[in-house]
């Protein structure tokens, strides 16, 4: 895994990008929002918890059949929508020949629960009304039969196959932030080695879920009370869950050129690690060990991180970044919130977008840790350090 790239490794281009988030949908909307330093939060609905809610989206545009939409919960609709945008952007939407051999790696968690059913069972139990059969009977009678299909992790990929016809291979990786780092890493390795020619890679997250807030509250990870940019959460750390879907079309340069597709950028390297975080400083060390594997020349550049704002990982990541002061940093968590599996593809997408637009988007950080960076970037590092485990980096470069 630390081997230098084989001389026969194929160049891999990013030829399609689909994003939908709290900032809107599509590349222009996101570019404008980032340049306008827009942030969209809701601090009322789940107060005192803060979330970045999905911007209004007309799902019909990418999921034309209402029946399909009904079979999905929000996380699947967000993902299926973003996947459609990516296929449109790559110019392969509806191209059965290509889609029929397009490989897919989706990074996913699980789907929404029926909160009313949960609460009815829990309150009955708290009242002492639960016979041995009670849980079984309530679940048998009250759960919607098809809800299971909206909860299964691999059914985001399943829905993308059904709605968009992406049906080469279909793999779903799980495991929070690291899942999408590995999805990009494996897709890149497969295309570089010739095991695949074209792949759809990405994730989706619905951050507007009480059950997820409970899960992260177990570990005291949620941002409460007052919103602050990721680098200004020293006194009140945590992440604000965000809703977003992001997919990329990756393909070999030969494959793209043969069909006349234009690249946004090339994906040169993806590396990942699982630091044992019991020791303080483990994340800093892990990132230091990953850095030279990217093969970056020079000590200045651009870096987009999915830093969560949760501790201790954010401080450990900051300690690493301080050792590379020539790199202009942008934290997507400030604008998009924490979108778990979606954060790394989002970083890749914004890197490719920035390279294709010839500029890094401006900082959004009153603390001054993020600095202005003029000039035309030709390389952007994407960094992801999961809130409790998993570290990774990618190098995205301009195609010359």
């Amino acid at each position: 895994m630390t081997e230098p790239k084989s001389p026969d490794a194929k160049e891999v281009w990013i030829t399609g990008i689909g994003i939908v988030s709290s900032l809107g949908e599509g590349l222009d909307a996101h570019w404008d929002a980032l340049n306008g330093k827009k942030i969209n939060i809701d601090d009322k609905r789940f107060a005192p918890y803060i979330v970045h809610p999905l911007a209004p989206v007309t799902f019909d545009a990418q999921i034309p059949k209402k029946g399909d939409q009904r079979q999905m919960e929000a996380w699947q609709r967000i993902g299926t929508y973003a996947a459609g945008l990516a296929l449109d952007s790559a110019g392969i939407k509806g191209n059965k020949e290509i889609l029929g051999r397009t490989d897919m790696i989706v990074a996913a968690g699980g789907g929404e629960r029926d909160l009313a059913v949960d609460v009815a069972i829990m309150t009955a139990d708290a009242k002492g009304n639960s016979s041995p059969a009670f849980l079984n009977e309530r679940l048998m009678n009250d759960l919607r039969p098809t809800l299971f299909l909206a909860q299964l992790s691999n059914l985001l990929a399943g829905n993308i196959a059904i709605v968009h016809g992406v049906c080469g291979t279909s793999r779903t990786f799980m495991g929070e932030e690291a899942a999408s780092i590995d999805a990009a890493r494996i897709a890149l390795a497969r295309i570089e080695s010739g095991q695949s020619e074209i792949a759809l890679v990405g994730a989706a997250h619905n951050g507007e879920r009480s059950d997820l807030l409970v899960l992260y509250e177990f570990g005291d990870y949620n941002l409460k009370e007052k919103f602050a940019p990721v680098w200004q959460r020293e006194g009140n750390n945590g992440f604000a869950l965000g809703s977003a879907g992001c997919f990329l079309v990756l393909e070999s340069r030969e494959h793209a050129e043969a069909r006349g597709a234009k690249p946004y950028a090339k994906l040169t390297k993806v590396v990942a690690d699982l630091a044992q975080r019991k020791q303080p400083g483990a994340v800093t060390k892990s990132l230091e060990a990953l850095w030279p594997k990217l093969g970056i020349a020079g000590d200045s550049g651009n870096l987009i991180t999915g830093a969560t704002g949760a501790e201790p990982v954010t401080s450990e990541e900051k300690a690493f970044l301080r050792q590379h002061p020539g790199f202009a940093v942008r934290a997507t968590g400030t604008m998009f919130g924490h979108t778990l599996e979606t954060q790394f593809p989002l970083g890749l997408a914004l890197a490719a977008l920035s390279l294709s637009r010839g500029a890094l988007f401006p900082p959004n950080d009153p603390s001054g840790f993020e600095v202005e960076k003029a000039g035309h970037p030709d390389q952007i590092v994407v960094l992801g350090a999961g809130h409790w485990q998993g570290e990774g980096m990618a190098l995205v470069e301009a195609v010359k």
């Binding site: 081997e3 996913a108 949960d118 009242k127 059969a133 990786f173 929070e176 005291d220």
Partner: protein, 425 residues
């Protein structure tokens, strides 16, 4: 064994260690003895009340207990047991220092009912909502549940316990997950990214909500009495699958690396294939093309002709639709050769181990190659006249077996096949 590369110039991928746990027992020896004797591991569920359930039996692994009781905890422990057995056999690396990556097929993780009810009781009120749960969830009292119910928790535990290298991958392709874990390992070795890979698949998720979910989709057998007769693959009176638990683990290595260290080679993963069905969330395309394509891709990947397959370890869930579809598609792929291929479904005895099934059945396929004996499909009393497989019914059969195809099909259009051989092809 001769050249270290296959006919396509790729490194040959061999198996040097295997481990398995099912409702039949822990370990290859116990499993193989019972499997070939036609013993069923399906029992009436005793782990939780079955009142009000339509299906009341499962292939639970009751001889392993975890504290606190969670499906994810059991899933993790089953994986650990299967991995320990595989590593002991492979004798690779050092203790807690496996020289390659981990690919783990694991059931999706979620907060479970005992913990949810615990939280509800801790609120101290009788009328409450998720907001009230949120108020008491923080502060460190339930930190352990954050870790337990992260999707990556099982893989990170195994990665630390066995010292696998790099970022471990947790994956789900529903009922094809086990086969996908093996496929990812094969691909990594063929690329030259690794000389060895640990591929594990595990599922310990027989709990009330999981059973209800499958039950509401009418996927489970309701022939509760006697439980051991419920799983009837290829029978006319089959009515669904039986949920089960288990784990399978395989140490994969490049042939070159295995022979260099003098490892005993147990078999070869000669081919892998996968093709997505975009027809429906739970049903196969009526024309069967994705499954047919999956099997053909696998044959092509192995560089084999249909005539060279001499046993099929079927997906064989015993749902009315799966078994019919599996027969129809297999008939297209194998044509006139099909009657000469003995077919069997391990699920008749161990039930459907869901996320683990692909790897559990790959281990059984390799044991079939080793012993030249095919485990039976039990409960095969009333053959389905529309399924003309040469089913190895009720009694194990001695046979010359050189190449086994093992099939896995899952919800979400997941189709994956493996071809396992004794020698490189």
């Amino acid at each position: 064994m001769s050249a270290p590369r296959d006919k396509f110039g790729r490194p040959i991928v061999v198996v040097t260690g295997m481990g398995v746990v099912t409702s039949l027992g822990a370990g290859k020896q116990d499993n193989w003895r019972k499997l070939t004797a036609g013993v069923s591991g399906i029992k009436t569920v005793t782990r939780f009340p079955i009142d009000g359930l339509k299906s009341t039996m499962a292939g639970t692994v009751d001889f392993v207990t975890v504290d606190p009781v969670t499906s994810t905890g059991l899933t993790e422990r089953l994986a650990e047991m299967a991995t320990e057995e595989a590593l002991e056999q492979a004798a690779i690396g050092a203790k807690a220092d496996f020289p390659g990556p981990l690919f783990l097929a694991v059931a999706p993780v979620e907060v479970e009912w005992p913990q949810r009810l615990e939280l509800g009781r801790a609120i101290g009120k009788t009328e409450f909502g998720y907001d009230d749960m949120l108020r008491i969830s923080g502060g460190g009292r339930y930190t352990k549940y954050h870790h337990r119910f992260m999707f990556g928790s099982v893989a990170s535990h195994l990665a630390e316990a066995f010292g696998t290298k790099g970022s471990p991958i947790s994956l789900s392709t529903a009922c094809a997950s086990g086969a996908t874990a093996i496929q990812l390992g094969v691909e990594a070795i063929r690329r030259g990214d690794a000389d060895a890979a640990l591929c594990v698949a595990t599922d310990g998720s027989v709990n009330p909500e999981a059973m209800v979910r499958f039950s509401l989709l009418s996927a489970l057998s309701t022939q509760n009495d006697p439980p051991q007769a419920a799983s009837k693959p290829f029978s006319k009176n089959r009515d669904g699958f039986v949920m089960a638990e288990g784990a399978g683990a395989m140490v994969l290595e490049s042939y070159e690396s295995a022979t260099a260290r003098g490892a005993k080679i147990l078999g070869v993963v000669a081919g892998c294939g996968e093709l997505t069905d975009s027809f429906h969330r739970t049903r196969s395309s009526p024309d069967g093309k994705p499954i047919i394509g999956c099997m053909r891709k696998t044959l092509a990947d192995a560089g084999l002709e249909p005539e060279q397959i001499d046993h099929i370890n079927a997906h064989g869930t015993a749902t009315p639709e799966n078994d019919k579809m599996e027969y129809n598609t297999t008939a297209v792929v194998f044509g006139e050769h099909l009657p000469k291929i003995p077919v069997s479904s391990n699920k008749s005895m161990v039930g459907h181990t869901i996320s683990a099934a692909g790897a559990v059945e790959a281990v059984f396929s390799l044991l079939t190659l080793e012993h030249q004996r095919i485990p039976p499909t039990i409960n095969y009393e009333i053959p389905d006249p529309a399924i003309l497989f040469d089913v190895v019914g009720n009694k194990a059969r001695d046979a010359k077996v050189t190449a086994v195809m093992s099939n896995s099909f899952g919800f979400g259009g997941q189709n994956a096949s493996l071809i396992l051989t004794r020698e490189p092809v």
